[in-house]
Symmetry: C2
Subunit: 209 residues, 2 copies
């Protein structure tokens, strides 16, 4: 029901809660990351935790983040990046066993600021293609000035854990006799009809994502 | 295009990036929280940031979190809770101006462990109703033993910021002449058809959420 893949041997990636099925599956990590649009970036600022939503991209075994060169959150020495997909609401017969079906990946590490121009471009490409696939080739590429204003961070996918829950609720034995509906309400993320920019020039068809 | 409401006067809730429209709207904070299903909880563990997806609930101006009494993440002195809704992919004419439409709330504070039995029950109710509305009254309520195994944290909604982006891309003046589609691809979260537990007793209709 619950899968926990520690992809590294560190204490903090060991799953403590519900380690029924610990594993080590890098493909599962990549699949969770590749299916996401945004991550939650955790940093410590002035001694306090801070969590901000932001874009990301993966290129091989490196995760890329980007932001303004002035962003406080991109100056952190150590970060945590979490990507979560909510797949379903788990309705149990008891309040206590209510849960959610999800897939999540948690990555820890010390990112480095990318300075090599070709890696910086590749990192930005990964971020743009993650959020809006195909647009790197469709839209105008970054100018030298835009590149200079953008910081790109590289985080190796060395220390990570994956935790997922799928399937029906797990109720207490005696509760299966209760007159309460139980099961899963699937949750999906979908796209609506594209909304053209009011300033879009006439005659340009939607070609995106 | 971008709204930033600092709901408190602290330095860390002052929006530095894109503060075009700073405001102070508690209703907006509540609306973002109430529309969510899960939050990302940021804590510091052994000096490192950690971000974990988890449920939450709001009761008035208090945010409640719950978990196993043994969970490391619930022993943190100071936490950050972030709730994010992805509303759209913003396709600009230039790669640089690609963005996302979203609503996010970031809350900072020092939570306290709820020990008062009636507040603990109210906190749990808020968490369950946030994830699966209506189920507190449908499903079997917690036993004394279940309550004892559950830790409930209360976080006052005193220090928070809200940041949102909505609307079309903002391109550079000269790019509006480009032959590139621009606009927004709306993103929505929706529910699928309820999947009954294979062990559900016959004759119990779906009544949930």
């Amino acid at each position: 029901m619950s899968t926990n893949a520690a992809l590294s041997a560190t204490e903090r990636t060991r799953i403590r809660r519900l380690p029924e099925r610990a594993g080590s599956d890098r493909d599962e990590l990549y699949a969770i990351l590749d299916a996401g649009r945004l991550c939650h970036l955790g940093v410590i600022v002035d001694g306090s935790p801070r969590v901000l939503p932001t874009g990301y991209g993966r290129d091989g075994d490196t995760l890329y983040l980007h932001g303004s060169t002035g962003a406080v959150s991109l100056r952190a020495e150590e970060i945590c990046v979490t990507v979560t997909h909510l797949d379903g609401l788990v309705l149990a017969r008891s309040v206590f066993h209510h849960s959610m079906n999800y897939r999540s990946a948690v990555i820890y590490g010390r990112p480095h600021l990318v300075t090599d121009p070709s890696e910086k471009l590749a990192g930005l490409r990964a971020v743009v293609e993650q959020l809006t696939p195909g647009r790197w080739d469709t839209a105008r590429r970054p100018t030298r000035k835009e590149l200079a204003a953008t910081a790109v961070l590289a985080l190796p996918l060395d220390e990570a854990s994956v935790k997922t829950r799928q399937g029906p609720p797990g109720d207490d034995e005696e509760d299966y006799a209760l007159d309460v509906w139980a099961g899963v309400l699937p949750v999906t993320q979908s796209f609506g009809v594209p909304v053209p920019d009011p300033l879009l020039r006439p005659g340009i068809p939607y070609d995106g994502v």
